[in-house]
């Protein structure tokens, strides 16, 4: 392998490419981080009508209760 034979143009391409990949994913990370806050502001200006809100979901609580009862039953 002869790294001295590599044209500086391609070294610059590699460095630029890595920079662009990092820039793109960093921008995405920043966008994701700010997204909940932006959506909260939009929700404040344009609130979701009550009939469009999703129904209250207590599935997790029910699953936890069933799991507790089963565990209690098996350990007795």
């Amino acid at each position: 392998m002869d790294f001295n034979s590599i044209d500086t143009e391609y070294l610059q391409l590699a460095m630029t490419g890595m920079t662009v990949v990092f820039a793109a994913l960093t921008l995405i990370a920043v966008f994701i981080y700010s997204l909940p806050r932006v959506l909260a502001v939009i929700e404040g200006i344009f609130p979701t009508p009550p009939h469009q809100l999703p129904p209250e979901n207590d599935e997790d609580e029910r699953a936890a209760a069933v799991g507790f009862v089963l565990h209690h039953h098996r350990t007795q």
């Binding site: 044209d7 391409l13 460095m15 490419g17 890595m18 990949v21 793109a24 994913l25 994701i32 997204l35």
Partner: protein, 405 residues
Amino acid sequence: MENFRQFFETTGFAYLEPGNVIMIVIGITFITLAIRKHYEPLLLVPIGMGIIVGNIPFSKDMQLGVDNQGAILVEDGRVLTKSVEDSDGTKSERVRSRPGSVLGYLYFGVSHGVFPPLIFLGIGAMTDFSTMLSNPKLVLLGAAAQIGVFLTFLGALSLGFQPEQAGAIGIIGGADGPTAIFLSAKLAPGLLGAIAIAAYSYMALVPVIQPPIMKLLTTKNERKIRMKPPREVSKAERIVFPIAAFLICTLLAPGALVLIGMLFFGNLLKECGVTERLAQTARTSMIDIVTILLGFSVGASTAARDFLQRESLSIFALGAVAFAIATAGGILFAKVMNLFLKEKINPLVGAAGVSAVPDSARVVEMVGLQEDSENHLLMHAMAPNVAGVLGSAVAAGIFWSALTN
């Protein structure tokens, strides 16, 4: 006797070379690994069978191979035509053409970069970005793993490959089969077979390649780090994300337009909630059909005379280096991030920046469980895993834009 000789010259035995036999054995080996060891069976069975089909020799007159996609006949620089009488009695000139072979027509989807974006559509329709949305800093690990792509690019240049070939070889480090095939078709079609086989082989070997590197670069205590469970992500976030992320990535790297566009289109079909039928088709029937055709035609393109060259060995060696550097890059960047973070990242998760979804995330889970049987890292590892898909697609777009005249 003469009749027998003439018949013999129409058989494949007359043109069989040692290289064909070697490739047929390789194809059988792939199929055996898929069936007995369950190494990526959905890919290795079509590729293995394609290798066997593509290495059955025939006489040149039969034009059965992938390189016969049909052609317009030309003589002395002039397109040949033939006179045809239409149903109403009028005569017209039609261009004379030679029909392509079935393998050639199937290979069209590979050689013209049609199949990989369709695969990405299906991948988008089955990918859950919520782990990435719940912990955005892990996205940077997917970026860090792409160091394998660019260092392998330089390594390939130093070995004497042309820049376009080096770019296509470097993308093996992205550990993304469709992206590797897409870029090879655009930049280095002559190396497509070797690059595709190398990329898919190493993706199947992720559980073998990654763990030693992960253990070498991390301490026992680091491997035991527990991370906070991911937060709940709202439906609105999951709908807005694919559109916004597509705009960000493609405005920075327009060469990634097709791959990333299809990836996020598929994800939008899944998340919007009103196109479940389309999403279901994209992630099941459609992706299965394209996977069959892609794998089979890539395998059929690996004819011995093109595949068994010294270049192919170099490509395989560079592919292994690419995977190793990508794994190391993700892990080391996680350790650097930990210097500045209060809530530490388990560095093993960095290895999942190699975008072999979901195998490298599963490897992280497995290695993490070896140190602490209650430390489940799978969901955390999925974040850099899917980020790595974006990173490798952006890297491919950069190479395509920069290295195409």
